[in-house]
Symmetry: C2
Subunit: 139 residues, 2 copies
């Protein structure tokens, strides 16, 4: 099912990460900052326990925009990211994407993405993506 | 060796990605957009061959900022990203990071990052990171 990709259209995506996902992300990207991997190190920080990589949370943007909304064939042109609150493993989150502007001549769109802790309702990460899709961004 | 983290300080990091890295990133993030994975699909696009995920290139930001400059203990607060040109596997790139501003009271800094194709010298990705490090961002 491909959502209709028009101005003000929204799309939601539920997700959660495990500590194994964090370890995989650290290995693939090379970011082995102990803030994400070492409970003893994290205990000495204001967070008290390991937080997931901000970029791992932000990977939901590339996943959803590249595979669901607008989906396969999307070309990523830009992204802003505000890491507003720490994110943790084994926690339910929901991403909401909203089409903010469309440029049909250029086949580009700006899409606001917000990641929200499902239990607290608080936004943990917010950002605006700019992308191009020749077939799906036309109107 | 920890670089001195002061205003206008710079740090460089050479890197390249393989198709196996792209497949790993697709698996970890769930972004299996065929633009990155399928040569036949990519051949039908203006790029002619698979391009790496923009967020995989951008993972150099989290890697270097989290592990080298300023390094372990960095807390990521924000990131802008402009994906200016496509990036490819088996290609030599160099990232240059420059400290643009420092707020010693808040232990925060803004750091410009630029990814450059080593052969052509052209910038492929540019962005500004905002981060906090209580020990290393003081002056």
């Amino acid at each position: 099912m491909t959502p209709h990709f028009t101005l003000n259209a929204t799309h939601t995506h539920a997700f959660r990460f495990s500590q194994a996902d964090v370890a995989d992300f650290a290995r693939v990207t090379g970011d082995n900052n102990p803030l994400h991997l070492d409970p003893d190190f994290a205990a000495q920080t204001p967070f008290k326990r390991p937080i997931i990589h901000g970029m791992l949370g932000a990977s939901i943007f590339t996943k959803v925009l590249g595979t669901e909304f607008p989906g396969y064939g999307s070309v990523y042109m830009g992204q802003t990211l505000e890491f507003l609150r720490p994110m943790f493993v084994d926690t339910d989150y929901e991403a909401t994407f909203t089409v903010q502007s469309i440029n049909p001549a250029k086949h580009t769109a700006e899409i606001l993405g917000e990641l929200r802790d499902k239990q607290t309702g608080k936004i943990t990460t917010r950002g605006v993506a700019t992308l191009m899709h020749r077939e799906k961004i036309n109107i």
